[in-house]
Assembly symmetry: C2
Homo-oligomer: 218 residues x 2
């Protein structure tokens, strides 16, 4: 009982800071996406391909959340957009980003120079969904290699996310998996979320995703 009370306190404290972040972002006219998903679902690869489309055309900023490395930030450096790396290891090796760490990162940007902020969370289909970080949109990258039933097994993530990017479409032909079934399972949890199937490898679906981003940052 004690433990549950404390967890509530932590979540409440997080929510207060998340609201501050949201206000900060709103004042600067920034649209912020909290990009989540399992390890290896393709978050960074989608982001690389996205930056190929929009870097230089939109003002983009990136926050990279990771437990201990800056490998993903290094992959994105060639795009010459502002990137702030958050490592959770000095803070207990947290399995998710909290609003306080994101707030510190926000202060490292000139937010008036940013239209779109993508916050890549720690790879984890469970815990990040519990923590509001002040984003405008929660999105999950869900790869076809993970199997059709994951929305049912990890419902909080799919309930919280307004956008699902079904990734790695190029591998579909080698798997016993159907996108229709993935969509059907997402719909059992969330009837409203936008769903965009894509492949960062072949480029299929990337135009829909980029159009969605442009529309959000008008």
């Amino acid at each position: 009982m004690k433990q549950i009370e404390i967890i509530k306190d932590v979540l409440d404290a997080n929510r207060v800071v998340a609201e501050e972040n949201r206000k900060l972002l709103k004042e600067a006219g920034v649209f912020a996406i909290n990009l989540m998903g399992s390890p290896g679902s393709g978050k960074t690869t989608v982001l690389e391909r996205t930056l190929e489309h929009i870097a230089g055309k939109m003002w983009v900023g990136i926050i990279q959340g990771d437990i201990t490395t800056s490998l993903d930030s290094e992959r994105l450096q060639r795009f010459n957009v502002p990137i702030v790396q958050i490592n959770t290891e000095p803070f207990g090796g947290d399995c998710h980003l909290g609003a306080n760490l994101v707030q510190k990162a926000l202060h490292s940007f000139d937010l008036n120079q940013i239209q779109l902020l993508v916050i890549e969370n720690v790879g984890n289909l469970v815990c990040p969904a519990e923590f509001d970080i002040g984003e405008n949109l929660k999105a999950v990258v869900f790869s076809v290699t993970e199997g059709e039933e994951k929305p049912l097994k990890y419902p909080l993530m799919f309930r919280e996310c307004g956008l699902v990017l079904i990734s790695k479409l190029d591998l579909l032909q080698y798997l016993d998996v159907k996108v229709e079934k993935m969509v059907e399972n997402i719909r059992k949890i969330n009837s409203q979320s936008k769903i965009i199937p894509l492949s960062a490898k072949t480029g299929e679906g990337m135009e829909d995703w980029v159009a969605f981003l442009k529309q959000k940052c008008k």
Copy 2:
């Protein structure tokens, strides 16, 4: 600071119960594996293929950990081995199995009728690695679709695990991923762990894995 102290208390309390579990298993001569990995890494599929090899030849028991469904247990029912489902949802939707839930499950088995107990943990490459549940061996299923660098990004899991099953070898030919590089990255974190590459789809490597299990349960 308060929060960190409390987390220590939780981990200490967990460790005490884990030791009780370990004693219980030892007295009954059970070898217990804590099977972890990302969502969709192939834990249940590996387990299905494993049971095809050993069900009826060894006394096997399964504990299935999941947040909210019993989908994985249902997939294993055809093997007619004792299965106990643990759902963490009534306990806060925990992102990992704790020793206390495992202890409750242990009391549902006739442990004297079991040689090998496989405990499939919640799909998560982060949190389950922190919790001793009284197992004899921690193992991680790490699929080739997750990418080569994951041991560096999720070091605690690979440090804790005495066994790594590199899964989905059948998909390797469609990916820009090398098993040698995965092994090299595992070795940067853990020089001792046993590594078995396999494909539950083609059966490649399954004999090595089954031989390993038989040897452990002699």
